[in-house]
Amino acid sequence: MISYNFAYLDEQTKRSIRRALLKAVAVPGWQIPFGSREMPLPYGWGTGGIQVTASVIGETDRLKVIDQGADDTTNAVAIASFFKRMTGVEITTHTADATIIQTRHRIPEHPLTENQIIVYQVPQPEPLWRLIPERPVAMRAHALGDYGTMYVKLYEDITRFGRVASAYEHPVMVGGCVLMSPSPIPAFDNPKMDRMPALQLFGAGRERRLYAVPPYTSVRSLDFADHPFHPGRADGTCSLCGSTTSYLDEIIMDDHGTRRFVCSDTDYCSERQDAKDTTP
């Protein structure tokens, strides 16, 4: 019978990943190469995030895994069950109870604290990839702090559409000097990254890069003085909990295109529903 170490990876590998993470924390937003391993889930499913979580998780941790804000989406369930199997740690859906939150495409609505780590799954760590596909050239731009191409791209959006056209993965400036991809979270979530009390770790398994934002670090969404950053959300109300401020998913109800909105953050939504039920 084949057996596995706690959290799947061997201790040596976990140590090497933690060393890379320390480096990442020391240079906020900077992409650190690391010896990413093949994981038992495919690349693109969150192998970077899984490796980061596996490297920092301990027996007393409580893990929450979300995809698109929800604990019950197929990918989140598969990753959570992987860690349950490989570590035996407690899996929770409550944001406030979790010590580690692994996420794909969202930041929970509930503000995070100093006692928490949020691990982002990152498909493309290089924020300039759409403009400069050649990675060595992009790296030189980072080294020189030369982000002119990105500003020109935003400027072109404004001249063509009257607004910045990137709805998700809107680039951020970390610590005032390093351009970073926030991962494909909606622009709505970007402001939550700024001076967040929790440690933010980012893992890109396929591209073999890690990066980090230490607690209370400045994270500014790229914009212009006369065109300030605009975090967007669907103009609607959650049909389950009535929230008018949370990020919403659009659900199509029938073949006639009838639609309604629900919170993307399922924990936030169900807590609000519970609170409503108990208030007289």
Partner: protein
């Protein structure tokens, strides 16, 4: 047997075939046709797709004969296909009538008809199963894993069309049947239905890598999986002498409708565009790769910047056929004595001339000192 005996090498060829046959049958321990058919469904699907012939039994035979070499097996199917008379063209299959086994949309959390995973590895952990075929996990045992009977489900992305957020399906150029690539050479510029045909039988690895390159910045298409569905569709013919339609059977296909962000151009408002992928059998990888590459090939038509490999129709379509590619790459091991001999002569002659010239220069240089 020595390789030099290229002329009169019959003995060598016979010995090579005998050795292969021996290896293939594995002292009677080899896999039977029935075992291959039931155990290697995905391999059979790929062989049928690249062999451009829907016949699971024949594909299984090809797979065995080719010792599991997928390209070789597709080649066997392709060359068999060439010998069959063409009796009639079927009517276009209608994927809306699919008996759906699997149907997912990545752009809506829920939608009419629901999300249906079907037989997929998407959320399995890649850990070795125990020898009796069971996963070592605590996964619940399902008695009726295939669930309720497959049903017909409406398309997922039509909703976007109603708001005109999605481009309408471009009408075919004319009512004629599309040119058949198995009997008509590929010519450029190739219209969309010809491109789709070439991609549908293209090498899965090639399509996959090209599709991947677009995701890393080399011809990005901003894709979302609007819908991916797999199941059986009826195949219908309408013989002209009868004047009515007859179902002659059904085939399993995988269809991918990619929805791609489009920033708009001078003539078109911003909207979502389509990339289309269709594969014989069950292959998400193949259908999705095809949809990404297909959309990339429309860059010029949509007025997007071009220049990446996946955006170049001539480059992609001329090199996507695994059977053409493997033939020409591997032909380099055939004897090329004659050509090489002439190259030898030329290289020797040039070196000799250069040597003489150098000597003369040196002598001239000596004089200067």
């Amino acid at each position: 047997m020595a390789f030099v005996a290229t002329k009169g090498g019959e003995g060598a060829i016979a010995a090579a075939h005998a050795w292969r046959a021996d290896r293939r049958h594995g002292n009677g321990q080899g896999c039977t046709l029935k075992q291959a058919t039931t155990s290697f469904g995905r391999a059979i699907d790929r062989v049928m797709a690249e062999g451009a012939l829907y016949d699971p039994d024949l594909a299984a035979r090809a797979l065995l004969q080719a010792e599991g070499d997928l390209v070789e097996a597709a080649f066997l199917l392709r060359s068999f296909r060439a010998t069959r008379p063409r009796l009639i063209d079927s009517l276009p299959i209608e994927t809306g009538n699919m008996r759906v086994q699997r149907r997912v949309s990545a752009i809506f959390k829920d939608l009419p008809g629901g999300q249906r995973l079907g037989p997929t590895t998407d959320y399995s952990h890649r850990l070795f199963e125990t020898e009796d075929g069971h996963s070592p996990s605590e996964e619940p045992e399902l008695t009726n894993a295939s669930g309720e009977a497959p049903s017909r489900i409406p398309g997922a992305i039509g909703i976007l069309g109603e708001e005109a957020l999605l481009e309408s399906v471009p009408a075919p150029h004319d009512a004629d049947l599309p040119p058949d690539l198995s009997t008509t050479p590929l010519r450029f510029p190739a219209e969309r239905r010809v491109r789709l045909q070439a991609l549908a039988r293209g090498d899965e690895g090639f399509l996959l890598s090209l599709a991947y390159s677009t995701q890393r910045g080399y011809g990005n298409t901003h894709p979302f999986v609007g819908e991916l569905r797999m199941g059986e569709v009826p195949v219908t013919i309408a013989p002209p002498e009868l004047g009515f339609e007859i179902d002659i059977g059904s085939i399993v296909v995988t269809e991918c409708q990619m929805v791609n962000q489009f920033n708009g151009s001078k003539v078109a408002p911003p909207q979502f565009t389509r990339g289309y992928g269709l594969s014989i059998g069950h292959s998400d990888r193949r259908a999705m790769s095809m949809a990404l590459v297909e959309r990339s090939l429309r860059a010029e038509e949509l007025g997007e910047s071009t220049g990446s490999p996946a955006q170049d129709p001539e480059f992609v379509l001329s090199h996507c056929d695994s059977i053409q590619a493997t033939g020409f790459v591997e032909h380099l091991k055939l004897p090329h004595y004659v050509d090489f001999q002439s190259e030898l002569e030329i290289v020797r002659a040039i070196r000799a001339e250069a040597g003489m010239a150098r000597q003369e220069n040196q002598e001239a240089g000596d004089d200067l000192v």
